[in-house]
Amino acid sequence: MALTALVNRNPTTVTAAALQASAPATKAPLPAKGAENGATAEFSIPDTTLAINSDKPMSQRVVHYEIDAKYDAATHTVDATEVLTYHNLTGQALDHFPFHLYQNAFQPNATFVREAKIAGNRDTSYDKWEAKEYGSETIKNIEVVGQGDMAQGDLTGQLQYIAPDDGNKDDKTVVDLHMPKPIAPGAYVQFKIAFQTKFPETQARSGWKRDFVLGGQWFPKVGVWWNGAWNCHQYHAMTEFFADFGVYDVKLTVPQYEVVGASGVMVDEKNNPDNTKTVTYHGDDIHDFAWTASPRYKVRESVYQSQMGPIKLRFLMQPAHWSQAERHEKITTETLDHFEKWYGPYPYKTLTVVDPEPDSAAGGMEYPTFITGDSSWFMPAGMYVPELVVEHEFGHQYWYGMVATNEFEDAWMDEGINSYTEVKVLDSILGKNTSIMNEAGVTMGEREEQRLSYTSSADRDPIAQKAYDYYSYGSYGGITYGKTASVLVTLEGIIGEDTMAKAMHVYFMKYRFTHPGKEDFLKTIEEVSGKNLRWYFDQAIYGSQVMDYEVSSVDSFPVNWYEEKKDKKDAKKDAKDAKDDTVYQSYVSLHRKEDFVMPVEVEIKFDNGEKLREQWDGKSRWVRFSYQKKAKVVSAELDPDHKVQIDRNDFNNSFVVEANPRPTNKLSTYWLFATQWVSQALAWWAV
């Protein structure tokens, strides 16, 4: 029924009048044989700019989604119609189109759940399965306009579930449609789809919780033609998404009591007689569309003046977090400042920051112009969880949103690069060693957190690996986020902070609104730095080598150690007299314990205040530096400027000859107190 209405509707009426005034759709010239090859001459992708601070499109627009969706809050179900116009820019005829049906991942035998049970998952254990955790996405009807020789264009029967990654016949997250007629290069094709999506209780940052809903990955989405083939992976426990840029016009019909937020700009809102309302959104140069609704959001709005124009910031806060709205706004604007200054402009007119339902699995997610934070009603000022999450998710507007890498295959390029810029931005805003926590004398910095995340699973997997091929969710997180961030911080030490900053800027400006691969990023760094960095990338990006250098020993003894003293008294006297003249032979030994080879610097300090710096290429397993001086070595420190962030063990990077027991005494005091307190508490109640 919904499809009938859709077929009879003029697609251009989906967008508001304002949208049309902004930039009328243009029709690209079609190849002469377009109609013969299944394409229809009337279609086009709009070149609207309503949602961006630019007078012309910023991406090569491949898709135009027009969705009319009605959300049933009682059943957490969306019934919708979707008109997808696809522009074949692949350079070859396309005879089939794969579609993602992501919500089908939440079925007991789906690949997502199978993998999650083995490898772990971010927020669900899948130890048991309840009905409320099921999700589904069903294409009720699909038609290809202009290919009407099969029952009026209805190709629903032609749909075929495929599992290109693992062959799991029970996985229904990808469906393939074979076309009666191929779509010629340069031609357009329009799909008309009626679908129903049933959201699960929140899983993987999508679904409902209580009266809240986050509509993410909720509509049939066509794959990406990439590197000469369709790229449409199944939904895995450790993967995110990949899609083409285009234009989105989405009508959402929800109960009137709901407060709604979504990607893009809102162009219309009207109440319906049945106590629902329809909110219309438009998005330009984005590759996904997400929305949220809750009756309890409290809204804070402000305007940020970006390099390209004003951005409307909208914060949808939980009532119990209302006092944190200012914190959310502050970190958002400060992050925007840094990203615009360091990497490039934010071109969109809106940014919606959602503070999701507590205890839901919806926190910490990115969609174009729409992110979710994560907080709690109890959030001391020195605990920077909201700041950390909002900064990270905003960073994805650049590393995912605009530089739209393949999250299935190159997860490190969005999560990892974003974690690196997160380190840089949070260091700058909140302090290098205090950017996660600075409360009651306890501190923790983001860069150390990333390093710890990496070292927890340092030797499992390389960075350059498909996200679904990681050993476990812990390894995926540790390598994709933590190792990439640590590797790039270390790279900064190799090529220089300014050069790295310039490389990041060049990379963003060159590849925004495209789908770059790993070599595009790595070559950009090499080009900007003018250095061949293959020795580093081969180990750090493509390899799983682990780095652990140590100062293995420090020794100093008098060169005349063999001269015997007559007696102890004389020896002491002589030693006192000759104190300044004694010549010492000193040795400092360094050891490369693991297989990551990298040049390092070591700083050696003597007891006369002298400091020396030595270089070691690290190629041999160990090296020993020797000195003959009128001074003894007091300490040796590898990487004295703390440029290397990938050393697995930082504790053995330095050696101080004179032991300092005070740090241990301090820690032991805490541990002793805790032990005694537990003893007393136990005795209090038990006897």
Binding site: R451, F651, P661, R662, T664, Q676, W677
Partner: protein, 318 residues
Amino acid sequence: MSEKKGLLSSGWGMAIHNKRYIFWFWLLNLTLAEFGTAAFRQSAHAILDHSMLADRLLHGFDLAVMIGLFARPEFGSMAAMSTVAGYFAFLFLLFTALFLPGVFQGYASTYRLPREDFFRACGRNLWRFIRLMIVAGIVMGIFAVVLFGISGALVKKAGESTNEVLPFEVHMAGLAVIFLVMTVLRIWFDLAEADIVLNDQRAVRKSIGAGFRHTFRAFWRLLTSYVVTTVFAAVILVGGLWIWMRLVGPEHWFDAFIVSQIILILLLIPRFWQRGIAVSYWQQNMVVPVVTYPSPFLDPKPVVAVVAAPPSPAPEAV
């Protein structure tokens, strides 16, 4: 009201007049904990003493460095170290059970209890206390499981609410109720302990029965006294930690040691205060009446006698 004050003040008096017990228990706990934390100390010394990175633990407290330390394989397993510490905590519990009869005896005495009498009371009541501990463990364990179960279910139910703070509030309310119930049970078994020692009661079940009856006979008086002492303990803990954080510099580990031990020794006071309250209550209300032979020529009213042990000829104090 005056009776309540009487219990609190007399209990306080017993605890303070016999403060040497508090000192010895603190020393015992410290000694056992030193053993319990030795492995931790040894591992930390091996990694930190010659490393410059350790400075970040000394000057301030960098959580990342501490997590990194615990993650080092050569440091050893924190779970294993916690288990060892737990064993010594359990040992402290056993020693407490061993020496507590002497404390009760000392509290009931109107003089400084000689060492021999202290240990005699400990030895005479050891197995009685172990039996009592087992009964108390079963009873308190059952209550704890049931109450925590109910509390957990209520918290889960509250989690369905759209009021985010409600689960926390329910959790806190649940803990308050559990605390009160467990305090009542503690009163019951404290009275039983006092009765076992001071009445020289071999039949533990009789003391348990007496403790139970008297707990509810003077319910509010005893409960209020125990709650007041517990609040006192909470104030000590919170105030002590606040002073520690505010006044002790991050690199002054020895000052931290002193402050932490003062907190711990002060935290022992309220529990000994509670035991003083139990002894005081026993003396006032639970003492066994001793009936003398009736004489037709004398007043036939029964005479109440204090059943505490007589003074020793060799008053060498503990």
